[in-house]
Symmetry: C2
Subunit: 158 residues, 2 copies
């Protein structure tokens, strides 16, 4: 049976509406699906757990990895009610998800008052041109952790 | 007393070396400092806690927010051993940190075998052009969670 994209995405939209109406956080939800089975769900909990990284996608990725007992989610699709922000899209790449299906765009999120599009624009700039001051220091010592890493024969790469 | 950038960044580099040598994760560490006092520390724990989002910066941001009891870290500086990846830079914007000081660049991280630069390049592309398949569906229903949000007079914005 092929995965039913529309059905999973509609479930995520329902979950996001519930999340708002229950006062649990922002208007976002995500599902992680493997072989048409829901592995994990996540909703936005930023303001209720006091964690700015508790976006729906990150919450779902962390829950799915816990369930799998592994830090990668190859073979899985992420369904999310809105185009992932840069933080969540980065997490999606690190988790090695196979595919993303989303409903609203970053422009829709901006119209609802969220910073996703603003952060995409900031990331496009060179570090010195961003609104957030970023300074590089100690570049001559920066290699020390990487040297330790290369010398560690027991390292687990990710 | 002005904040001693070099001292805090060197502490982060030492912490990252220790993290590798103790077998706790990748060669990255971060400190969050407010008024020259360390609010929280974080190291990379991806492979030991099975969480692809457990980068040093995210771990430090989550710990600092827990300590503050709030989802924003205005007034704080983040010291990190390496230029933040897109996931962590996104988290830094959402956390409203004041400033970032880093040692290694994304190019140094790529040379050490990490995907940071690759993910920056992917984020620059339009969704249909990325290596990760991304598809938009149900755009006509995507407004439902945002409508619930706008109608919720008790919403906490972030």
């Amino acid at each position: 049976m092929p995965t039913d994209d529309t059905s999973h995405l509609r479930d995520a939209l329902d979950l996001a509406v519930d999340n708002v109406e229950s006062g649990l956080g922002g208007p976002f939800a995500a599902l992680i699906v493997e072989d048409d089975t829901v592995l994990a769900k996540g909703t936005n909990r930023v303001t209720t757990v006091q964690d700015p990284t508790a976006h729906a996608e990150i919450t779902a990725i962390r829950a799915a990895c816990k369930k799998r007992g592994h830090f990668e989610l190859d073979g899985c699709t992420l369904y999310t009610t809105c185009e992932p922000c840069p933080m969540c899209l980065g997490a999606i790449y690190w988790a090695r998800l196979d595919r993303v299906v989303y409903a609203a765009s970053r422009t829709d999120a901006a119209e609802a008052g969220f910073d996703d599009d603003h952060i995409y624009q900031e990331l496009d700039k060179a570090p010195p041109d961003r609104k957030l001051p970023m300074e590089q220091r100690l570049s001559d010592e920066a290699h020390r952790p990487f040297d330790a890493w290369k010398n560690d024969d027991d390292r687990i790469e990710y």
